[in-house]
């Protein structure tokens, strides 16, 4: 039967397969606005820390509100897509997991490193200033990470993982 399929028909079928697979993989991708909201929440928490240094209760409440907001947002975005189609975990692979962890460490490391450095030289708004840099890394790097992960998942799918 395959002998009866013309090369152009085969190419069309493979293109259709690729298009459908992209639909599922696109579901797994975080939208750009997600990074903006997370960045705003990080800056908000840091500004609260700087403004309420002598009031640990306020900082604790802000930290809890921050954690709840991040968790709620992430669950809403990821589970919303997950309910529609559960992409195969193998598509992300260990390389994808390492990329995500590396990005988290880049953002956290950059933010903490700058914050401690500013604190050491006596800058009063050290947390806020450092978080602004961390937020910029997140806003610029988040969509790049998303594009790399998408490419990786498509490659893994093509390799039959």
């Amino acid at each position: 039967m395959s002998e009866q399929v013309r090369p152009d028909e085969a190419a069309q079928a493979l293109a259709q397969i690729r298009q459908q697979q992209q639909r599922v993989i696109d579901l797994a991708m975080l939208p750009t606005w997600y990074w903006w909201i997370v960045a705003a929440l990080v800056v908000g928490l840091s500004a609260t820390v700087d403004a309420a240094r002598q009031r640990p209760v306020v900082i604790a409440l802000a930290a809890v509100a921050f954690a709840l907001a991040i968790a709620g947002l992430t669950i809403r975005v990821v589970l919303g897509a997950w309910r529609r189609a559960q992409w195969r975990n193998q598509l992300l692979g260990s390389r994808g997991v390492l990329l995500i962890l590396g990005f988290v460490w880049l953002v956290v490391g950059t933010t903490l490193g700058i914050a401690f450095a500013l604190e050491a030289v006596g800058v009063r708004q050290s947390a806020t200033l450092a978080s602004l840099v961390g937020a910029a890394v997140m806003i610029a790097g988040g969509p790049v990470l998303t594009r790399i992960l998408r490419r990786l998942m498509l490659d893994n799918q093509a390799r039959g993982r």
């Binding site: 399929v5 013309r6 493979l14 397969i17 992409w87 195969r88 490659d155």
Partner: protein, 103 residues
């Protein structure tokens, strides 16, 4: 890569779209499949039943709150058949000197 074997059941355009979608998923919701492949509810049900009878699909029905939800996934046999079918399509292309991987 899987051994190439053309599968007439999978090759029909609507079923190819359904199977390709499910090949990237563990489970996919009926509505997501319907919207992705552009079929009516009844047309999709018919195609899913055909694939299920061939042993290529598992269908799951459950409830989200009080709302019924139908999901589908490729069975082991269905996934193997799809991989063989993709290999067959690639062989046709390779034989013609062209190349297009389903990335």
């Amino acid at each position: 890569m899987a051994a190439a074997r053309f599968d007439e059941l999978i090759h029909a355009p609507t079923r190819l779209a359904i199977v390709a979608l499910l090949a990237t998923s563990e489970w996919a919701e009926f509505k997501f499949i319907r919207d992705s492949v552009g079929l009516s509810d009844s047309a999709l049900s018919k195609q899913l039943t055909t694939l299920e009878r061939a042993g290529y699909l598992d269908i799951r029905k459950d409830f989200v709150g009080k709302r019924p939800r139908t999901s589908a996934r490729l069975s082991k046999a269905g996934r193997a058949a799809f991989e063989r079918h993709v290999a067959a399509l690639q062989e046709v292309l390779a034989g013609s000197g062209a190349s297009l991987l389903p990335q």
